[in-house]
C-alpha cells in the first residue's frame, strides 16, 4: 500500500490556501511563506510520481479509490497515466513562479490572491488525476470560481466584462458535457471514465456526445471560433492569472479531447475529424495573422496561445487521417505525442512569456508594445530571457517548442502533404509575430524615460524565469524521458481512438 500521493497533491495546496486565507492580510508575511512552501512541497511530492512511474504500462498508477456517492456509484477515484502525469507535474511546477512573481507585487488583498492560486492548484491537479467522470467534472467546474475571482478582483480596467465572459463561455460548454456524462451514466450505471470508454454507442449517440464534449473542450482549448473569451481574459487578468490560464487551464481542453472525446466517441471523431482539423488549421493560420497586428503584448501572446493550441487539436485528430491514408496505427501515435509535448511545452513557454510581460508591466504599468523600445539597454538579463522564450515560442530547435510542433507537422505529413504545409506556416507566422514583438520591445534605441529608468531583474524574478528557461531547454534538448512516460498511454489511446464502438 503506497501513500496517497495524489490526494496529498490535491488537498495540500487547498488546505494551505485556506490557511493563507485564515491568516489574512494581517499576517501576510507568514501567509506568503506558507503559500510558497506549500507550493514547493506540492512540487516535491509530485516528483516521486515521476520517479516511481512505471513506463511499461498504460494502466492508471498511484490509484486511489474511496466511496464518494455510493448511490451513483461515483467514487473518489484518482490515478495518473502517461497522459495526465506530465500535466499534473506541470501544474505543480507552474504554481511556484506565480506565487514568487506576486511576492511583493500584488498590493491589495494579497493573502486572498495567494490563497486563490493555491486552491486552484489543488483543483487543477484534481482535474488531471480524477478517473471518475463525476469527480473530474466536480474539479473542472469548481476551478472556475477561483479563476473568476482572480480576474475579477485583481484584473485590469475591463476585468468585469472579461471575467463574466470567461465564466459564461466555459460554463456553457461544461454544462453540455455534464448532460452528456449523465446520459452515459444512465446507460452504464457508474461514473468511471473507463466504463464510459467501454460503453458501446450508436453513431447518432456518439455524434451528440461528441458535440457536447466539443463545446466543453473547444471553448477551453480554445479553438476558433469560440476563442474570443481568451484574449479578453488574458489581457485583463493579473500576471499570475494569465500564467495559469495559458499554462494549465487551456491544457484541460486538450486533455479532455484525449481523455474523453477520442476514446468515448471514436466513431464520431473519425467521421468528423476533418471538421476539427479544419478548425485547428484556421486557428494556426488565421489566428497567427491576428496575432501579428496586436498592439498589446498580452493580447499578442494570447493569440499566439490559440495558434499553438491548434497544434494540440490537430495532432490529436490527424490520427484518423493518418490511419485512413496509410492504414497503419503505429505511425499515428506520433501526432498524439506531438500534441502532448506541445501542451507541456506551451505551458512552460506561454507561462514564461506572460511572466516576462508581468516583469515589464510591474515597472512601467503598460502592456502596450508602443510604450516600450530598447529595453535591452537597461535590462540586458531580462532581454536575454525574453529572447530565449520568444525563440522557443517560434519553435526553435533545441527548445521544447520545436519538439511538439515538429512531431505534429511530421505526423500530419503522413496524412496529407497539405495539412503539414498549412501547419508549417506557423513556423513563419510564429516567427513574424514573436520576433517582431521582441524587436519592438527589446531592441532599438531607448524609446522613452520609462524605459531609460528600468531596473533589471531582481533575484526573485531571475529565479522564476531561470527555472522555466531550464525546463524549456531540457525538454527541447532531451525530450526522451517525457516521451517515454507518455508512450504506453498514447499507444493505448491510439488503439482506443481508432477502434469502433458501434454496437454490433
Amino acid at each position: 500500500m503506497h501513500s496517497p500521493l495524489l490526494s496529498i497533491l490535491i488537498w495540500l495546496p487547498i488546505a494551505a490556501g485556506i490557511g493563507v486565507l485564515l491568516l489574512g492580510e494581517r499576517f501576510l508575511a507568514a501567509g506568503r511563506w506558507l503559500a510558497l512552501l506549500s507550493s514547493i512541497a506540492t512540487l516535491a511530492i509530485s516528483l516521486p510520481l515521476l520517479a516511481h512511474f512505471d513506463t511499461q504500462t498504460a494502466a492508471y498508477q498511484f490509484v486511489e479509490k474511496a466511496a464518494w456517492i455510493p448511490r451513483f456509484k461515483a467514487f473518489y477515484a484518482l490515478g495518473v497515466d502517461g497522459i495526465s502525469l506530465p500535466l499534473v507535474v506541470l501544474t505543480a511546477v507552474m504554481t511556484i513562479p506565480v506565487i514568487i512573481a506576486a511576492w511583493t507585487v500584488v498590493k491589495t488583498r494579497a493573502a486572498q490572491y495567494f490563497a486563490a492560486f493555491l486552491i486552484m492548484e489543488g483543483l487543477m491537479i484534481g482535474v488531471f488525476s480524477a478517473t471518475d467522470a463525476l469527480l473530474f467534472y466536480f474539479f473542472w467546474e469548481a476551478m472556475l470560481i477561483p479563476m473568476f475571482l482572480i480576474i475579477g478582483i485583481w484584473g485590469g480596467p475591463r476585468r468585469v466584462y472579461a471575467t463574466i465572459k470567461f465564466f459564461l463561455y466555459t460554463f456553457l460548454g461544461s454544462v453540455f458535457m455534464l448532460a452528456a456524462l449523465i446520459y452515459m451514466y444512465v446507460k452504464t450505471g457508474d461514473y468511471a471514465i473507463a466504463s464510459f470508454q467501454a460503453l458501446p454507442l450508436t453513431l447518432v449517440e456518439q455524434r451528440w456526445i461528441f458535440a457536447a464534449f466539443m463545446l466543453a473542450f473547444a471553448v477551453k482549448v480554445p479553438m476558433w471560433p469560440v476563442h474570443t473569451w481568451l484574449p479578453d481574459a488574458h489581457v485583463e487578468a493579473p500576471t499570475g492569472g494569465s500564467v495559469i490560464l495559458a499554462a494549465i487551464m487551456l491544457k484541460m481542453g486538450g486533455y479532455g479531447f484525449l481523455r474523453f472525446s477520442l476514446p468515448i466517441t471514436p466513431d464520431a471523431c473519425r467521421e468528423l475529424d476533418l471538421f476539427v482539423i479544419t478548425l485547428s488549421l484556421i486557428a494556426v493560420i488565421y489566428i497567427g495573422f491576428v496575432a501579428i497586428v496586436q498592439a498589446d503584448m498580452k493580447k499578442l501572446i494570447a493569440y499566439s496561445s490559440i495558434a499553438h493550441m491548434g497544434f494540440v487539436t490537430l495532432g490529436a485528430f490527424v490520427v484518423y487521417e493518418i490511419v485512413r491514408t496509410t492504414g497503419q496505427v503505429q505511425g499515428a501515435a506520433m501526432g498524439m505525442d506531438g500534441a502532448m509535448v506541445q501542451m507541456i511545452s506551451h505551458g512552460l513557454i506561454s507561462g514564461a512569456l506572460f511572466l516576462c510581460v508581468g516583469v515589464l508591466y510591474d515597472r512601467v504599468h503598460s502592456r502596450e508594445i508602443s510604450a516600450y523600445g530598447g529595453v535591452i539597454n537597461t535590462m540586458p538579463i531580462f532581454a536575454a530571457f525574453m529572447v530565449m522564450f520568444a525563440l522557443a515560442n517560434t519553435g526553435l530547435p533545441g527548445t521544447s517548442g520545436f519538439v511538439g510542433e515538429f512531431l505534429v507537422i511530421l505526423a500530419s505529413f503522413k496524412a496529407s502533404f497539405w495539412y503539414s504545409t498549412l501547419a508549417a506556416v506557423t513556423l513563419i507566422l510564429g516567427a513574424c509575430y514573436t520576433l517582431w514583438l521582441v524587436k519592438r520591445v527589446l531592441y532599438g534605441p531607448v524609446a522613452n524615460d520609462h524605459v531609460a529608468h528600468l531596473t533589471d531583474l531582481n533575484g526573485r524574478e531571475f529565479i522564476v524565469l531561470g527555472m522555466l528557461a531550464v525546463l524549456v531547454l531540457a525538454i527541447g534538448i532531451w525530450p526522451e524521458p517525457l516521451l517515454k512516460i507518455m508512450e504506453p498511454s498514447i499507444h493505448h489511446l491510439v488503439t482506443q481512438a481508432v477502434a469502433t464502438k458501434l454496437p454490433v
Partner: protein, 476 residues
C-alpha cells in the same frame, strides 16, 4: 381510534396546542416584554422537533383518522425540515422585525399556524385535508405579508396575493370536486386505485384545474405574477418565510395529490406540466437578468428554480420525484442563506434590497459576502456547492425518461441563470463600496447560524451522499 393510535399525529396536535399557548403568552407577557414571544417560539419549535422525533418517527406508512391523514418517513423528514426551516427563518428575522417596530407576538403565531398548514399538507391523504392544509398555510401567509401595516407596498402585495390566491384555491377546489364526482371518494389512496385510465375527458378537466392551482402555488409561469410583487413588497423577513417554508408544503401537495393520488393519470398531467416547466425556466431566468432589486431578482430566480422542481415531476418516475424533493430541500437551504444575508445587511430605516446596496459588501462585511457568494454559486449550480447536485439529479431523471429537449432547455437556462448570480458576486467582490451605506447588523447568534448555513451549502456539496440517499429512501 384509541389515543395511542394517534401518536403519529403528535406534531400537528402539539403545534395546534402550542399556537394557543404562544397566543396567550403574547397577551399576558409578550406585550410587556417584547422579544419574549420570539424566544418562546424558538423553544416551542425545539420541543416540537424533539416530540416529532420521539413520536412521529414510525418508519413505515400509516393511515389515521379514517384515511384523512397519512404519515410515512417522508412526512416525518419534511416536518423536521419544517421545524428547522421556521426556526432559522425566525432567528434571522428577529432584529429586522425589532428595527421596524413590528416585533409582535402575532407574527410568531402566524408563523406557527403556517407551519401547521405545512404539516397538514405534508400528511394529507384526502382531498379535504389537502384543501384545509392549503388554506391554513395560505391565510397565515397572506396575513404575514401584510404584517407591516404602515407599509403601503406590503398591503398592496398582500391584497394581490390574497385575491390571486383565492382564485387559485377556487380552481383547486373545483378540480377536486370534478375528481370527487368521477370517483365518489375524497381518499387519495382510493382515488389512485380508481383513476387509472389516462385520457378521459372528465379527468383531464379536473386535472387542468388542479394543475393550475399547483402551478399557482409554486409560482410556475404563467401563474407566477404574484410572486415577484409579493417577494418585493413584503417585509424581507416575510419574503424569507414565503420563499422557503411553503415550498416544503407545495412539494408535498404535488407529490401527494398528483404523483400519488392521480398517479394513474400521470401521462396527462406530465403533459400539462411540461410546457409550464419550460416556460417557467425561461421566464424566470431571463427576466431575473434585468432586475435591479435583489428581492425581485431572487423572486424570478425562485421561479427559475421552480422550473427545475417541476421538471422533476415531469419525469413522472420515482427518480424524478426524488430529484424534485432533493432540489426543493436544497433550494430551501440555500434560499434561507440568501434572504438571511438581506436581513442582516438591512438596518433600521434602511432596506438593503437594491443590488447596488451590495457593492463592495466584501469590504464591509466579509462573512456576509462569503455566505452570499456560496449561495449564488450554489443557485447557479457550480460545484463544490450543493446546488450542483440538485441540477445534476434533475438532469439525470430527465435522461432516464429520455427527455432530450428538456435537458437542453435545463442546461441552457442554468447558464443564463449563472449570469445574474455572477453579477451579485461581481458587485460584492469586484466593486468598491459606496460611501453612505450603513453598517451591517452584527448579532452573534444569527451570524453564527448563517455561517453554519453557508457551511452546510458547501459541505453538502462536497459530500452530497447523505442527503441524496435520504431523499431516495423517502420516495420509494
Amino acid at each position: 381510534m384509541t389515543l395511542h393510535g394517534m401518536t403519529p399525529a403528535v406534531p400537528e396536535i402539539y403545534l395546534a396546542f402550542a399556537v394557543c399557548v404562544v397566543l396567550l403568552f403574547e397577551v399576558f407577557v409578550g406585550v410587556k416584554r417584547p422579544g419574549a414571544t420570539s424566544t418562546l417560539t424558538l423553544v416551542v419549535l425545539a420541543i416540537g422537533a424533539a416530540l416529532t422525533v420521539r413520536y412521529a418517527n414510525i418508519g413505515h406508512h400509516a393511515v389515521l383518522f379514517d384515511g384523512m391523514y397519512v404519515t410515512d418517513p417522508l412526512a416525518f423528514v419534511l416536518k423536521l425540515a419544517g421545524f428547522l426551516c421556521v426556526a432559522v427563518a425566525l432567528l434571522y428575522s428577529r432584529m429586522y422585525l425589532e428595527n421596524r417596530d413590528i416585533l409582535r407576538g402575532e407574527y410568531y403565531v402566524l408563523a406557527l399556524t403556517a407551519l401547521l398548514g405545512v404539516f397538514v399538507l405534508v400528511s394529507a391523504n384526502s382531498l379535504l385535508t389537502v384543501y384545509i392544509g392549503v388554506e391554513l398555510l395560505a391565510l397565515s401567509v397572506y396575513a404575514m405579508v401584510a404584517f407591516d401595516r404602515e407599509s403601503g407596498i406590503a398591503a398592496e402585495s398582500a391584497m394581490k396575493y390574497f385575491v390571486l390566491g383565492a382564485i387559485a384555491s377556487g380552481t383547486l377546489l373545483y378540480g377536486m370536486s370534478i375528481i370527487y364526482g368521477l370517483t365518489g371518494t375524497l381518499d387519495l389512496e382510493v382515488i389512485a386505485t380508481k383513476l387509472n385510465t389516462p385520457g378521459s375527458l372528465g379527468v383531464i378537466l379536473g386535472l387542468a384545474f388542479i394543475v393550475v392551482a399547483v402551478a399557482f402555488k409554486f409560482g410556475a409561469v404563467p401563474f407566477h405574477m404574484w410572486l415577484p410583487d409579493v417577494y418585493e413588497g413584503a417585509p424581507t423577513s416575510v419574503t424569507l418565510f414565503v420563499g422557503t417554508v411553503p415550498k416544503i408544503a407545495y412539494f408535498a401537495l404535488t407529490l401527494r395529490l398528483l404523483a400519488h393520488g392521480l398517479a394513474g393519470t400521470s401521462a396527462d398531467w406530465t403533459l400539462m406540466l411540461t410546457p409550464l416547466a419550460v416556460l417557467t425556466l425561461i421566464v424566470g431566468n431571463v427576466v431575473a437578468i434585468v432586475q435591479s432589486n435583489l428581492k425581485r431578482m431572487l423572486a424570478y430566480s425562485t421561479i427559475g428554480h421552480v422550473g427545475f422542481i417541476v421538471l422533476g415531476f415531469v419525469a413522472g418516475t420515482a427518480s424524478g420525484y426524488t430529484a424534485a424533493l432533493y432540489y426543493m430541500l436544497v433550494y430551501v437551504l440555500v434560499a434561507l442563506g440568501a434572504f438571511g444575508v438581506i436581513l442582516l445587511a438591512s438596518r433600521k430605516g434602511f432596506e438593503a434590497d437594491k443590488l447596488d446596496h451590495y457593492k463592495g459588501l466584501y469590504q464591509r462585511d466579509p462573512l456576509l459576502a462569503l455566505v452570499m457568494m456560496a449561495v449564488m454559486f450554489s443557485f447557479a449550480g457550480v460545484p463544490p456547492f450543493v446546488g450542483f447536485w440538485a441540477k445534476l439529479r434533475i438532469i439525470q431523471a430527465l435522461w432516464e425518461t429520455s427527455h432530450l429537449g428538456l435537458v437542453v432547455v435545463a442546461v441552457v437556462m442554468s447558464v443564463v441563470g449563472a449570469f445574474y448570480y455572477l453579477r451579485v458576486v461581481k458587485l460584492m467582490y469586484f466593486d468598491a463600496p459606496p460611501e453612505n451605506l450603513p453598517a451591517t447588523l452584527r448579532p452573534l447568534g444569527p451570524r453564527l447560524v448563517i455561517g453554519v448555513n453557508a457551511a452546510a451549502v458547501l459541505v453538502l456539496g462536497v459530500l452530497p451522499s447523505p442527503l441524496l440517499d435520504l431523499c431516495s429512501r423517502l420516495i420509494q
